[in-house]
């Protein structure tokens, strides 16, 4: 069958578009419904995060990290404080480590729920989105219980956390987990195995493992391509080596390995694993103990530099911090997992149809706040 080629048209998806997940512009060359070339144009949210960091003390950087990946602010806090503590060779109390892991895993569930729900919305299913947001709400309630904030927490500080867990937190958390686990089956019934959803996502936007690695893609996007790589397991930080959990990878069961459905499903599996980690952490957390390390008001890490990585819901978040011994960092560089995920979009989306581009973009789960920094 011959292919009819028409005149190519340049189309701007965004910066204001319902499915670009933020202020992103995609310059798309199309021939009717078929996309031949796609160029992401970023920078609409650039707010000089790294330059700002060179003008403030180490503690003052933490609220800025909140605003990078605003859907997983706890994880960003975590990444930054782990880096600074590593630079200072500081050991934090065990209780703090537990609290941090609990918060980070709750944040992972919250972030993945939003990613999965919004992905359903991209495909056209409205109801799963609201179901997932309803449950995410309860996690945010617990964050509010703990630190008073629902989105941007500024919770993890160098050497500790801002507040101890409130009374009744552990019980509330267990109650939530008991409620939440059956909900995952409901999501699966409603969306994951829906015939139309599978048709729309399986075999679409296949990301082979070698391409993923060469672009530096990480997190669920990489694992969906079948690479068993998770910093929590492969380069454990904090106390992740104490917990039993599986590193979930895509298996291409609905289509090809590394397609949109795999990327979606890996997130769903990771939510289950986070529940597993949470159950262990909540059971083991020490009852007493201080949640602050005694530190001087102005932190002065020794001269030197550090590159430290943590596994956020979106992947491998790296912080490079250079200290000259003063209370103000000489240089802070953030390696954003969403940035690499967006970089691979051009590779993935060529040749697909208009609707598939939205589907592929959604499956990468990018956050523009983190890409533009």
């Amino acid at each position: 069958m011959g292919v009819i080629h028409g005149e190519e048209m340049v189309l701007n998806i965004g910066p204001q578009h319902p499915s670009t997940h933020g202020v992103l512009r995609l310059k798309v060359k199309t021939d009717g419904e078929i996309i031949s070339e796609i160029t992401p144009v970023i920078g609409y949210l650039h707010r000089c995060f790294e330059k700002h960091c060179e003008n403030m003390t180490y503690d003052q950087v933490i609220p800025y990290t909140d605003r990078c990946d605003y859907l997983a602010a706890m994880a960003n806090n975590f990444g930054y404080v782990v880096a600074v503590e590593e630079l200072m060779e500081l050991k934090v109390p065990e209780k703090v480590e537990y609290i941090r892991v609990i918060m980070a895993e709750f944040q992972r569930i919250a972030s993945h729920l939003l990613a999965l729900g919004v992905y359903g919305l991209d495909i056209g299913a409205f109801t799963p989105f609201l179901f997932m947001l309803r449950d995410r709400e309860r996690i945010l309630d617990m964050f509010e219980m703990t630190c008073g904030a629902r989105l941007l927490y500024n919770y993890m500080w160098v050497g500790g956390v801002s507040h101890d867990l409130p009374k009744g937190f552990v019980e509330t958390a267990f109650q939530f987990l008991d409620y939440f686990e059956p909900q995952i089956d409901e999501y699966n019934k409603l969306l994951t195995y829906n015939k139309i959803f599978v048709e729309r996502t399986a075999d679409i936007g296949v990301l082979p493992a070698d391409v993923a690695i060469s672009y530096g893609v990480s997190g669920p996007n990489l694992r969906a391509s079948g690479v068993k790589w998770d910093l929590r397991r492969n380069a454990p930080y904090s106390i992740y080596d104490k917990f039993e959990f599986d590193v979930c990878i895509g298996d291409g069961s609905k289509g090809t390995l590394g397609d949109c459905w795999d990327r979606y499903y890996v997130r769903m599996l990771e939510v289950k694993e986070s529940v597993k980690i949470l159950r262990q952490a909540l059971a083991q957390i020490p009852k007493d103990g201080d949640v602050h390390q005694a530190l001087p008001k102005k932190i002065r890490p020794p001269k030197g530099s550090i590159y430290s990585r943590t596994e956020t819901p979106r992947g491998d978040l790296g912080f490079y911090i250079e200290s000259d011994g003063s209370p103000i960092p000489n240089r802070v560089k953030m390696r954003s997992p969403a940035f690499t995920a967006l970089a691979v979009l051009g590779e993935l989306a060529g040749g697909w149809m208009m609707s598939d581009v939205i589907s592929i973009l959604g499956s990468l789960d990018i956050v523009l706040g983190e890409i533009d920094r």
Partner: protein, 357 residues
């Protein structure tokens, strides 16, 4: 109340003017106004129903409020009124580069397409504006009129998203007309008439006589028809011409305020019409499900309306449950599944009628 009966009734009332043109105009205008009311009330009720159905499916309460005033009334009953007021008072924006004449024309074309079809919809034994002898054919023909408006809207907006929406919609509606039409042929084969009332008369005598249960092929035909018309009305899972997450707003991206609401109004009017045709053609129209019970004229309206409401509810159920298909998958289903199935249906019904009829 047909035009003819109204005409002769008015003639009897004012003998001096019997048969005059003025009375004819009046007896046409009165039912048309009544129909306009039906369309408007239908839209108001359905917007509210859709909000509530969506809310309950999504574990929400939907529009709520207490008392009158600035709130949306008890149970949010005034929500649609508030919506309508908002739409009426909104700024009417026509893009500078748009084709002004066509841009203004498009919503009316769509609305007329949806509106005129209701003329032939029977709501009861005598409650019909005009019982044409080609009623069902007329509805099919006028129903596809709306697509012209959608293409006009898509083209005249001078916006790439609108163009995408318009083109997708044209392809979709034209394609799905075919299986829908072929399924209607099944009804015509059985009843031997194109008149809507004639089709309903044929199904008198309880559920067993409804065309949907006449034989296995008509049973399939009902589902082919229903799914095709869901596609024709651009509802999820076939809402690719509007596809919010892809095409922003599709063919009505550039429309605002009252002009936009005409698209909305006609979408709901279309849903009403296609459900009415499905109820008439397959589900016994205004006949009661149980022969001889509740089968008087007043009950006729009740049965017809409840059948329509049931089908519309199913459409809403679809919308809040399913994701959206892709444009090529949509075409595949139409040409590779529905078309062959509906052709087989026609043969099947013919053979079935020959041997068992």
């Amino acid at each position: 109340m047909t035009v003819d009966t109204l005409f002769s009734w008015l003639g009897g009332l004012i003998p001096a003017m019997e048969g005059s043109g003025i009375l004819l105009v009046i007896s046409i205008l009165v039912p048309c106004l009544a129909l306009f009311l039906v369309v408007a009330v239908n839209a108001i009720v359905m917007v509210y129903a859709e909000r509530k159905v969506a809310a309950f499916m999504q574990d929400r309460v939907g529009p709520m409020g207490q008392g009158v005033g600035l709130h949306a009334g008890k149970w949010g009953l005034l929500q649609t009124v508030a919506d309508a007021l908002k739409l009426l008072t909104k700024e009417d924006i026509i893009p500078e580069k748009a084709d002004r004449f066509l841009f203004i024309l498009a919503p009316f074309v769509i609305f007329i397409g949806a509106f005129v079809t209701i003329i032939a919809v029977p709501f009861g034994e005598t409650t019909i504006v005009a019982d044409f002898n080609i009623g069902i054919f007329y509805i099919l023909a006028m129903g596809s009129f709306g697509v012209i408006g959608i293409i006009l809207a898509g083209w005249s907006s001078n916006n790439k998203w609108s163009l995408y929406g318009g083109m997708r919609s044209a392809a979709q509606i034209v394609s799905y007309e075919i299986p829908a039409g072929l399924s209607i042929i099944v009804i015509i084969m059985l009843t031997g008439t194109l008149s809507m009332q004639g089709i309903i008369e044929y199904q008198a005598g309880g559920m067993g006589n409804w065309i949907i249960f006449a034989n296995p092929f008509t049973f399939i035909a009902f589902f082919v028809y229903f799914i095709s018309v869901v596609a024709e009305t651009n509802r999820t899972p076939f809402d690719i011409p509007e596809a919010e997450s892809e095409l922003v707003g599709g063919f009505h991206t550039e429309y605002s305020g009252m002009r936009w609401s005409f698209f909305f109004l006609s979408e709901y009017a279309n849903m009403l019409v296609v459900s009415a045709v499905a109820a008439t053609g397959f589900l016994g129209g205004w006949h009661s499900p149980i022969s001889g019970y509740f089968d008087s004229n007043g009950w006729g309206i009740f049965w017809m309306v409840s059948k329509i409401v049931f089908l519309i509810f199913i459409m809403m159920w679809f919308r809040w449950t399913f994701p959206r298909l892709r444009v090529d998958q949509l075409m595949n289903i139409c040409w590779k599944v529905f078309l062959p199935v509906s052709l087989i249906n026609i043969f099947g019904v013919g053979i079935w009628t020959l041997f068992f009829g």
